[in-house]
Symmetry: D2
């Protein structure tokens, strides 16, 4: 692991999992936190018919939802215990229709920083054990220091 | 209205509303289609506690979901009756935390085209009658011609 | 003008013009600073055959160069006199090939902030007095406070 | 090499190099085409003081210029001999100020397609043999078929 991806908080995994549990939307759509490592997080979403757009694929916004949380928690895993994380912006390319049994968003930090962290995520569809890329995200996250009121869930 | 924003299908509004009704995710999150005009569409989302991220704001991915559909249907409103629409990519800047009583995504076509259409959307939070900008989207949409199988919902 | 777009430095225009004069690339490509107002800046670029891509249009990267400086100086015009500005990221949609007698990038602040400012820019091609949109940018700029060494040109 | 990255034109490298030679901007800024392989292209730019922004770093728009051409030619390398390539849009994150002896943009196809191709590029600064990441691009390119008039340089 590059030196830059050493977490400042040794309890980073518990902190990420506790925050994820406070994201009401994750329970609503049925998303689950898989692997959490320093600067890299995976989130899984099983297909459901009530998450779809008009052609029966998972809506791009829901693909974005798990990609954004995967990026956000990748950044958050490297931050000090007192920091909160907010998304500044992201860009998503939709590579293929989001059809499959389940989807996995794999986020990773590409450039850590005290204030701004740049992350990328790939989202794949998995069907019968085979993976297909459905989306790529490139995102900017911001650490908010010393504003505990921002973070009721943390 | 500029000539370029004349819809090719006079029944564009009915076509947009029928397609929106096929987006399962819109019912799941409680979003509603408001105004539909040539090249411009508005979608409303009341706040709900089960749509939130860890600080209690609506998750950026859900803000993106209504912005994407507002852009997609803005583009779709100008397409011929036989076309389907898919999102190629988008970029979203989150301007402020998404807190408020309800949210409105206002999409508009900024550059129509036979294959690719560029759209923009603003998302505002509304509380006590006052509006606050929470997000901006810049998106590329693609018309799919002559592939009716793509579009069960249309 | 909205309260938020009141410049903190009354000499904002002189400061923007002095910084622009330090951007060596602007002289190299022949770009010129036009209007500077609080939160809005225009830059003009006459067509030149040595700025082109393989079809004879101005290269997208050069269109981006004037759009980025228009956004950057729009943000900079609102910052305190001691701040420097850096571009965090941008997204550009190319709407039409960049052919014309000259090009104007019009930047504007859409969301000012102490650390981060969001800006948008339109780039138009002008030929025979008629304008045509060629690109749209959505950008994030960062104010750097109290690091004068960063800014030899200011 | 994945099957999808097999070039349709066996003379892809000559075609890419001939088109690059028609990009007037590359000579103007002093950029040079390095490696060309199927779906991957590298472009080098030595530092020059007349390519800079106000702090003496290479302007983000010039970093973008070589990244865009690296992405464009990565996509172009896989296209049939009769196609032209245009940039639809891109997003760039600036990771660090562009200072160094020279810069290399490494483009690669992440999702090929008949009409649209998605590419990514990394730009690194090289000084004294050490590399540092300065930018990441995520881009959408479009193949234009059967319009030879578009492409005087090909």
């Amino acid at each position: 692991m590059p030196a830059a991806l050493v977490p400042r908080d040794p309890d980073y995994e518990a902190r990420v999992r506790a925050s994820f549990a406070c994201q009401g939307i994750m329970a609503t759509i049925g998303a689950r936190l898989l692997r959490v490592s320093p600067g890299a997080v995976e989130i899984e979403l099983p297909f459901r018919g009530d998450l779809t757009q008009q052609h029966g694929f998972v809506h791009a916004g829901i693909v974005t939802t798990i990609a954004d949380s995967a990026c956000g928690y990748s950044a958050f895993s490297l931050m000090p215990a007192s920091a909160s994380v907010l998304t500044v912006e992201y860009k998503v390319n939709l590579l293929a229709p989001a059809r499959g049994e389940r989807f996995v968003a794999r986020g990773r930090v590409t450039k850590p920083g005290r204030t701004l962290t740049v992350c990328a995520a790939d989202v794949v569809a998995i069907s019968g054990g085979a993976e297909k890329a459905v989306a790529m995200m490139l995102a900017t996250l911001m650490a908010i220091h010393d504003r505990p009121g921002l973070a009721p869930g943390l």
